[in-house]
């Protein structure tokens, strides 16, 4: 007995420590449960195919006998897939070895003996929690039609169709809506049942005593009440007495009211959920990007930055706390989410740990920007955060929070405005370069290894022929950051791979040099 317990514990520790086992389990979990896992959709497609083929075969089998090999396919292949899937879901639901280890650790802490019975009951309880869940019950019932002994079990083929809910997000969204409005829908259901009950009894009382040849019993009366209240009105049972007709008129009015009520509940619930559904879609779409920039705030500055980033081909997503602004960004054709950027949730969804490279805090409120910046930095310090601010005091505080770049639009514009006072022509040049409205632009060109500029002195490069004005060079330095800026380097200055040239010239001249690289 003691040996069995010992073996069990060592096995649990072995599983706990095994990297391979954990990797496999994580992979299976991602594949069948994790919506963010990119390959899950292939598994979902496969399952939908299996379900549809099985449903098709079972339906075909009603009128004509299907070939044996197809029957075998349904019996063995489909069933195996369903059984394996069921077992895998049960496996990844929880870790048995953790339960064993916890139990042993707790026992050793209190100097108690481990009871195998209580251990197994704990494990069984844990797995039962899965087996008794709604989805697992559907999964289990969907396996039943494979048993050919009982023909009635074939009805359970419908549960295979139910299983499809698992693999399609839009359908689960609908179920969520129904679940969300459970109270309202249940109230309406109770109310309808009550009306059907009353109307049914009334009709039975008025017409059940052989006045109406179609009403044989109370069930017929209830059936008539349901058909009438739902405004379907087959007409197979119709009232013939004036009293019966009055009851009919009353429940028709009630029915119309009830139906419009149900419709409005579902529609309003969908409207409430629209934001979440849209957010899910945006998160899913940007989830495919490896490097993402998050722009917080779609005001005047946000819009300009977005346009600039779009032109440069940067992948970004916009977050705005105002529904109106988020909708504006969305209608402008961008990935936009209405969310509170001062909370961690939205950044975690977007992948703050690995996907997000830059966060730009561009709302018009300095305090809000500082709040967002601190939020992001506290989640992942490596993310480059730029924040807008209009006050030097707040700028100092932002720098304390390790914000990488504090931008003050008033300062930038103020500096430019002052240039105009003495030098209007230089101002025009500056404006043209900075705002990139002309074809002549300032640009950077990184020197590629082995390119014609690698290891060449400045004097040997004919910039005149390249139609470029060389402003300066950033020498390559260790790490990702740029080195020192060398303005107007001398003719003897030697260029090396990794250096960055900063040039002014026609966009086509820059593109030409980049091509040569």
């Amino acid at each position: 007995m003691k040996q069995t317990k010992h073996k069990l514990l060592s096995f649990a520790y072995l599983l706990q420590g095994s990297k391979r086992y954990n990797n496999i389990k994580n992979f299976v979990y991602d594949l069948i449960e994790n919506d963010d896992y990119p390959y899950k959709k292939y598994f979902d497609f496969f399952m939908i195919f299996v379900i549809l083929s099985s449903v098709t075969l079972l339906v075909m089998d009603v009128k004509q006998h299907i070939p044996v090999w197809l029957d075998n396919f349904d019996l063995y292949f489909v069933t195996t897939v369903f059984v394996v899937e069921y077992l895998l879901r049960m496996w990844v639901y929880s870790d048995i070895h953790k339960i064993i280890i916890d139990e042993y650790e707790e026992s050793s802490y209190f100097d108690k003996r481990v009871s195998l019975l209580s251990l197994f009951s704990k494990i069984a309880k844990d797995k039962w929690a899965y087996m008794s869940s709604f989805a697992a019950i559907i999964d289990l019932i969907a396996i039943l039609p494979s048993y050919r002994g009982l023909r009635v079990l074939r009805v359970f083929v419908l549960f295979r169709a139910f299983k499809m809910l698992r693999y399609t997000k839009s359908l689960t969204g609908f179920l969520y809506v129904l679940k969300n409005k459970k109270f309202e829908l249940m109230t309406l259901l109770t109310l309808s049942t009550f009306f059907i009950f009353i109307a049914g009894i009334m009709l039975y009382v008025f017409e059940g005593d052989n006045d109406n040849p179609n009403i044989h019993n109370l069930f017929d009366a209830f059936y008539w009440a349901l058909i009438t209240i739902s405004t379907v009105g087959y007409g197979d049972i119709a009232p013939i007495t004036p009293e019966g007709r009055i009851v009919t008129m009353l429940i028709i009015f009630t029915g119309i009211g009830l139906i419009s009520f149900v419709t409005s509940i579902i529609v309003s619930s969908f409207n409430e959920r629209l934001g979440v559904l849209r957010e899910d879609r945006v998160v899913q779409e940007v989830g495919k990007k490896k490097k993402l920039t998050v722009i917080c705030g779609y005001g005047l500055l946000g819009r300009l930055v977005v346009r600039g980033l779009e032109k440069e081909g940067v992948e970004f997503v916009i977050i705005d706390s105002s529904e109106e602004m988020a909708a504006l960004a969305y209608n402008d054709g961008y990935h936009a989410i209405c969310a509170d950027a001062t909370k961690g949730g939205i950044f975690e969804k977007l992948g703050i740990a690995d996907r997000i490279s830059h966060v730009l805090c561009l709302t018009s409120d300095d305090i809000q920007n500082a709040f967002i910046a601190v939020n992001v930095k506290s989640l992942n310090e490596k993310v480059h955060v730029a924040a807008r601010c209009s006050d030097h005091e707040i700028a100092t505080k932002m720098e304390c929070a390790h914000v990488d770049q504090v931008i003050m639009p008033e300062e930038v514009a103020g500096m430019m405005g002052a240039v105009y006072a003495g030098e209007p022509v230089a101002f025009e040049v500056l404006l043209s370069i900075i705002e990139e409205k002309e074809k002549t632009q300032i640009n950077e060109i990184a020197i590629a290894e082995g390119s014609f500029l690698d290891n060449k002195a400045i004097g040997e490069v004919d910039f005149e022929r390249l139609r470029l004005i060389l402003l300066g060079v950033f020498k390559r330095s260790e790490g990702a950051k740029l080195g020192e800026f060398i303005f107007n380097p001398s003719d003897e200055f030697v260029l090396n791979a990794g250096d960055n040239l900063v040039c002014i010239g026609y966009s086509s001249a820059v593109a030409n040099l980049k091509r040569k690289m």
Binding site: L300, L309, E312, G417, N443, L471, F487
Partner: protein
């Protein structure tokens, strides 16, 4: 040395304050004017002389006794409508006035230009470019910081060529600007009209008196260059 123009700055909000600071650091004489109801944050470190007027009244503006020909007007009011109204007022009072206005969108820029503003500074345009550059062209962004935004040795400025300088009658390609520590970026060549042209070697300009050169250089090289221009012209 060029005579610095006087500045009349309308508005003393966050943009106005930044403008004031930069203009003063460049040595300009700045007169600050604000509307009657405008709230002005106290500036303890600088003794700024602020005049309150009713911007709707022409008499109040005329009472400022501005020499419009020698001054530049900056309209930096917080409200776009006030700025626009101010540009209209100034242009109607002084048709030749040099009026610079601040804007916050293309839409406002269009209206201000139509109203007669000589130049318009978009509050967000340069900032947005700067943000985009940090992400996509970090070297450009840092180079512009060195040249434009940082208070350091490197400057961008314009020089109008006087009569009889050593540059007169010479072609741009003949002058070794780079060896003098100077980078010539753009030129207004009077022979080619008054349009600003970047000197990216597509046209070899002939330099004459009255041409304006836009250069980037270190302070000491600028001084040396200016001395060369003066010494030659005095010969």
């Amino acid at each position: 040395m060029k005579k610095l123009q006087d500045i009349v700055l309308f508005g003393y909000g966050s943009f106005g304050r930044q403008l004031y600071k930069n203009l003063r650091s460049r040595g300009h004489n700045v007169k600050v004017v604000v509307g009657m109801d405008d709230y002005v944050e106290s500036e303890s470190d600088t003794a700024v002389d602020i005049t309150h007027i009713n911007i709707k009244r022409n008499d109040d503006i005329l009472a400022l006794n501005i020499n419009a020909a020698e001054s530049i007007f900056y309209c930096a009011m917080n409200k776009t409508a006030n700025n626009l109204f101010l540009v209209l007022t100034l242009k109607s009072l002084y048709p030749e006035a040099n009026v610079i206005a601040n804007s916050n969108s293309n839409e406002t820029t269009r209206k201000l230009k139509y109203a007669g503003a000589t130049s318009v500074i978009d509050l967000y345009e340069a900032t947005s470019r700067r943000i985009v550059n940090v992400l996509t062209k970090p070297a450009v962004s840092m180079a512009l910081d060195e040249i434009v935004y940082k208070q350091n040795d490197l400057k961008m400025l314009e020089l109008e060529l006087q009569e009889n300088t050593f540059l007169e009658g010479k072609y741009v390609s003949e002058i070794q600007f780079r060896q003098m520590g100077i980078i010539l970026i753009a030129i207004i060549d009077k022979e080619l009209g008054y349009e600003l042209v970047f000197t990216d070697h597509r046209i070899n300009h002939k330099l004459d008196a009255g041409d304006i050169l836009v250069i980037v250089a270190k302070k000491k090289d600028i001084n040396k260059f200016q001395e060369m221009l003066v010494s030659k012209s005095s010969v």
